[in-house]
C-alpha cells in the first residue's frame, strides 16, 4: 500500500507490479477519459460515413436515417473534445494547442482537424440540408422554437427552385469533402497512438486504419441503436428496408474491420520482435476479459455470426427476428469497440517499456479521472441528440413529410 497523490487528492492505491517497470511508469498516465475520447470521435466519424452513404452513394434505403445520423454525428462531435480537455493538467492552457501549435506533434493537429470538421463539414452540411425547413418552420412555429428556427435561417429566406437545387448540390459537395475529413478525423486519432514508437503495442502503421474501420463499424451500430430506440420511443414502426440496409453495411464494415485487426495480430506474431513476449502475455493475461472475451468474442464474433446469418438467410428469418438481431448486434458491436479503445489505451500502459513487467490499473469512482465523469461524458451526447431530435426531427406528420420530401430532393441531385 502506498499513499500517492493522484489529482491532488491523496488516495490509497494498491499498485501491484509484476516483474520490473520503470519507476515513473507505475501509475497509468492516461486513464478512462482517454478511452472515451477515441470512442466518441470514432462514433462521430462513423455516423457521418453512414450519412454519406445516402448523399454521395445514393443508398436510398437509408434515407430515413440520413438526418438522424448527421445529428448523431453532430451531438457526439460537440462532446468529443471534452474528455481531452478534462484530462489536461492545465485545461486553461488548452487554447495554446491552436495558438502555438507545434507542427511536428500529431496532437497539435487536433484543434485544426476538429475545427475543420465541425465548421467546414458538419455545420455547413446540416445548414444546407435544413435551410428549406428552417425557413418553413420559422413561418409556422412560434415562441422559443420559432426564434431558434428564425436564427438558424441566418436571414436567408430564398426558397426558389433554383436556390434549393443549389443547396442540395452544395451539401453533396460538402459530403464529398466530408468523407476524407471523417477519415482524417479518426485516422489522426489512430496516428496519435500509432506514431508512438516507444510503445510496441501502439507504434504500428496499421493503427490509423484499424481506428478508421472500427469507427465506421461503431458509427453504423450507433445509428442502428439510435434509430430503433427513437422509433420505439415514438411508437412508430422502423423502416424495415432501412434496417436491412443498415444491417448489411454493418456486416461488411465489421468484416473489413475484423480482417485488418486479424492481419495486425498475424503480422505481430509472425515478425515476433523483441516485444512479442510481453504483448502475448498482455493479451492472454491482463487483457484476457476485455480483449479476448469482450472485444473478440462478444463484440466481433457473435455479431459477425448473427449479421452473417441475416445476410445469408434473409428470407428465412422473420423481420421481427431480424430486427432483434440488428439491435443486439449493434449493442454488442458498440460495447466491443469501446473494449477495443480500452485495450489500446489502457493496455498500452499496462506493460513496461522495459518489456520486463506489468503494472495494474484500477478505475477510480470520483475525481477528474474517475469513471463517473466518463460515464457522464458518454451520456451527454445522447442528451444533446435528444434536444436535436426534438428540434430538428419532428415526429409530427406534416413536418415529417417535409423532411421526407427534402431527402427526396437530396437523392435526386
Amino acid at each position: 500500500m502506498a499513499l500517492e497523490m493522484t489529482n491532488s487528492i491523496p488516495v490509497a492505491l494498491m499498485t501491484h507490479i509484476d516483474g520490473y517497470v520503470y519507476p515513473n511508469e507505475q501509475h497509468l498516465l492516461w486513464s478512462v477519459l482517454i478511452v472515451v475520447y477515441p470512442y466518441v470521435t470514432g462514433l462521430v466519424a462513423g455516423a457521418f460515413i453512414m450519412a454519406s452513404l445516402v448523399r454521395v452513394f445514393n443508398v436510398r434505403e437509408l434515407e430515413p436515417v440520413y438526418r438522424l445520423s448527421l445529428l448523431t454525428s453532430f451531438a457526439f462531435l460537440l462532446v468529443a473534445p471534452l474528455p481531452l480537455l478534462f484530462h489536461l493538467g492545465h485545461p486553461e492552457r488548452s487554447l495554446q494547442v491552436m495558438i502555438t501549435p507545434h507542427l511536428s506533434s500529431p496532437m497539435a493537429m487536433f484543434g485544426f482537424v476538429y475545427t475543420w470538421y465541425i465548421m467546414a463539414v458538419l455545420l455547413l452540411e446540416l445548414w444546407f440540408d435544413y435551410r428549406k425547413d428552417f425557413v418553413e418552420w420559422s413561418k409556422t412555429e412560434t415562441g422559443i422554437k420559432g426564434v431558434i428556427y428564425r436564427l438558424f435561417t441566418v436571414g436567408v429566406n430564398d426558397l426558389s427552385e433554383r436556390s434549393l437545387r443549389l443547396d442540395a448540390r452544395l451539401a453533396k459537395g460538402i459530403t464529398i469533402i466530408g468523407i476524407p475529413s471523417a477519415f482524417l478525423l479518426h485516422g489522426y486519432v489512430g496516428f496519435i497512438f500509432g506514431s508512438i514508437k516507444a510503445n510496441p503495442w501502439w507504434g504500428n502503421v496499421l493503427m490509423p486504419i484499424i481506428f478508421i474501420f472500427s469507427a465506421i463499424v461503431s458509427g453504423i451500430a450507433l445509428c442502428v441503436f439510435v434509430y430503433m430506440t427513437m422509433c420505439w420511443i415514438r411508437r412508430v414502426a422502423a423502416d424495415d428496408h432501412c434496417l436491412d440496409a443498415m444491417g448489411k453495411f454493418l456486416f461488411y464494415a465489421l468484416v473489413v474491420d475484423f480482417a485488418i485487426e486479424v492481419l495486425d495480430w498475424v503480422h505481430r506474431l509472425y515478425e515476433a520482435e523483441e516485444s512479442v513476449h510481453v504483448l502475448k502475455q498482455l493479451a492472454s493475461g491482463k487483457l484476457f476479459y476485455t480483449l479476448l472475451v469482450v472485444q473478440v468474442c462478444l463484440g466481433t464474433l457473435v455479431p459477425f455470426l448473427l449479421l452473417g446469418a441475416t445476410q445469408l438467410f434473409q428470407k428465412a428469418i422473420a423481420m421481427a427476428v431480424r430486427r432483434r438481431i440488428y439491435f443486439t448486434s449493434a449493442l454488442l458491436i458498440m460495447v466491443g469497440v469501446l473494449a477495443m479503445r480500452w485495450n489500446v489505451v489502457i493496455g498500452g500502459q499496462l506493460f513496461s517499456k522495459s518489456l520486463r513487467g506489468f503494472t495494474t490499473y484500477k478505475m477510480e469512482l470520483g475525481g477528474q479521472e474517475g469513471w463517473l465523469v466518463s460515464l457522464l461524458l458518454m451520456l451527454l451526447p445522447f442528451v444533446i441528440l435528444w434536444v436535436c431530435v426534438k428540434l430538428f426531427l419532428p415526429a409530427r406528420p406534416a413536418l415529417a413529410e417535409n423532411a421526407a420530401a427534402a431527402s427526396a430532393v437530396v437523392s435526386r441531385v
Partner: protein
C-alpha cells in the same frame, strides 16, 4: 443603406472568417517558432547556450548502487516524494546462471529498483551461487539528438537547447502527457503538484553557473562523468572517458540517438 442578405454574402463572410482563422493561426505558429528561441530557462543572464555542449556518460562498472545521486537529485530539484517520481534512478540487474543442462549462455534476468534505488538495495533474494553477475545501471534523460518527446509536444513546451539539454517550460506545458508516452526510456513523469511534465534537466540551473549536476557532485565512485564538449579542460574527464571506453546507448534501434553513453553495458540492459 440596407444590407442585402443573400447567400452569396453569407458565404463570402463565412469564407473570410474561416480564412482569417487559418492565417491567424499560421502567423501565430511563426511567432511561436521565434519565441521558442527566447523561452525562459533557469540559466543566468549572459549565459550563451551556443558556446557549450553538455554531456553525461555513465560507467556501469563503477556504480555501487548507493543511491546518493537519486537522493541528491530529489533534494536539489524538489522532485516530488513518492516511489514513482524520479528524474534519475538506479536499476539493479541480476543475471542468473543458466539452469544446469540448459543450452543458454546466461540465465534469467531480474531487474529491480526499490524506491528508485534511493535507499540503496536490499540483499538479493537470489542465492549467491545462482548469480552469474550483478551490476547497477543509473538511468536519466538520454538527451536524445532526435527526441521523441520534443517531437510529440503539441505546444512546443519541451525543447532542445543549443547546449544539448532537453528542457520543459513548466509555465507553458499543458499537461497532456503525450511526451511521457513518447519517451521510450520512462524518464518523464507528471508532477502531481504542478501538473506539468517533468524530467532531468542536467541541473540546468547549476551547469549554466559553472557547477556540476547534483548527481555527479555526490557520486562517490565517479560513475557519472560530466563535461562540456565545446570547452575541454586540462585532462578532461569526459574526453578521456570517450577515448578510453567502448560506449553504447540505450535502445539504439528506435533511432532516437541518445547522447548519454554507457560504458560496460550488458545486452540485458533496456
Amino acid at each position: 443603406m440596407r444590407t442585402h442578405f443573400t447567400r452569396r454574402n453569407a458565404l463570402h463572410g463565412l469564407m473570410g472568417a474561416l480564412g482569417g482563422v487559418f492565417t491567424l493561426s499560421a502567423a501565430r505558429a511563426a511567432k511561436a517558432a521565434v519565441q521558442k528561441v527566447f523561452v525562459s530557462t533557469q540559466a543566468p543572464k549572459g549565459y550563451d547556450p551556443t558556446q557549450h555542449k553538455w554531456l553525461m556518460a555513465l560507467d556501469i562498472e563503477q556504480c555501487i548502487g548507493c543511491g546518493l545521486c537519486v537522493e541528491a537529485c530529489k533534494t536539489e530539484n524538489h522532485v516530488p516524494k513518492g516511489s514513482s517520481y524520479f528524474r534519475t534512478w538506479i536499476e539493479r540487474y541480476i543475471i542468473k546462471r543458466p539452469r544446469p543442462g540448459s543450452s543458454e549462455a546466461r540465465g534469467e534476468t531480474l531487474v529491480d529498483s526499490p524506491n528508485g534505488g534511493m535507499d540503496g538495495f536490499p540483499p538479493a533474494l537470489v542465492p549467491r551461487e545462482e548469480i552469474l553477475k550483478s551490476f547497477f545501471v543509473p538511468k536519466l534523460c538520454n538527451l536524445c539528438a532526435h527526441s521523441p518527446c520534443v517531437q510529440a509536444c503539441p505546444v512546443g513546451a519541451t525543447f532542445d537547447t543549443p547546449d544539448g539539454v532537453v528542457l520543459v517550460d513548466p509555465n507553458y506545458c499543458i499537461g497532456c502527457g503525450f511526451c511521457i508516452q513518447a519517451c521510450p526510456y520512462g524518464c518523464r513523469f507528471m508532477n502531481p503538484e504542478t501538473k506539468t511534465a517533468e524530467k532531468c534537466t542536467l541541473c540546468y540551473h547549476r551547469i549554466t553557473r559553472g557547477l556540476k549536476p547534483a548527481c555527479v557532485e555526490v557520486c562517490p565512485t565517479e560513475a557519472r562523468i560530466f563535461g562540456d564538449l565545446k570547452n575541454p579542460v586540462a585532462d578532461d574527464p569526459i574526453q578521456k572517458f570517450i577515448e578510453k571506453n567502448k560506449l553504447q546507448s540505450l535502445k539504439p534501434h528506435l533511432g532516437t540517438e541518445p547522447r548519454v553513453m554507457y560504458a560496460g553495458m550488458d545486452k540485458e540492459v533496456r
